[in-house]
Symmetry: C2
Subunit: 144 residues, 2 copies
């Protein structure tokens, strides 16, 4: 594959409202989405926009908090009670092509391709096959 | 402060040559700098460019490997032998103003302001005061 845009850095937090206050008050973020639930992933999600060099479409911070104890984030937050950097997400033009490429490279893909928080298909690749980084591959969303 | 551009995600690795091969061959990066030593920080550094929506000045991946056992990365790599996400770095127009803001907010700054890998002044803020994220604040480098 060809490396695409770094769409977001996923940041886990035990308390999404406290995390929103941190990004607003300490980091000075001015564009923060309303949080919303993604029951299929077991997380509550909120996007913090960062500017790029032209002030538009910088890499987002994706705040994610567990919806309940069965959330895939529960283990991460047990190891990191304050939260922290959880995954990186890169855009690709075709999710099917990317999946075929990662499978051909022998990378372990975590579950089926599904619809991600930006409304486009995504899959996750196992951190042990990705130099320790949980990596999301996502089809490029509309920036309009 | 006002949130600036996400300049880079710092990714620790035990083997910078292997990490470069991973970003080139698995992730499809086409713009990768030559690695260089930063003895003052105890690390060897290499930048992987990612495209932004316009193909320019996307957030970089900053690969960092320990120069020796006294490197500040040694502990991280003991906990994460494969490497992984280590820090996030945001740009600010004035490092002095940002430092004053973080100090006023009661955030623990790790050591003095120093010259970072991009040649501009930087400081790091303690992850325990930053929702678990080791955070680098850097004066905006020239993108020319």
């Amino acid at each position: 594959m060809k490396l695409g845009r770094l769409n977001h850095v996923g940041v886990a937090t035990p308390d999404i409202e406290a995390a929103i206050a941190f990004w607003r008050d300490t980091m000075g973020a001015t564009a923060i989405s309303d949080p919303f639930d993604m029951p299929t992933q077991g997380v509550r999600v909120c996007f913090v926009d960062t500017p790029n060099a032209n002030g538009l479409w910088g890499t987002q911070i994706e705040l994610i908090a567990p919806l309940d104890e069965s959330s895939p984030l529960t283990g991460f937050l047990e190891r990191n009670p304050l939260g922290g950097q959880h995954h990186v997400a890169f855009e690709v033009p075709s999710i099917e092509t990317a999946r075929t490429d990662f499978e051909a490279a022998g990378k372990r893909i975590l579950g089926p391709t599904r619809i991600g928080a930006h409304g486009t298909p995504v899959f996750f690749v196992h951190p042990k096959d990705m130099n320790g980084m949980l990596t999301e591959i996502m089809e490029t969303p509309s920036h309009g």
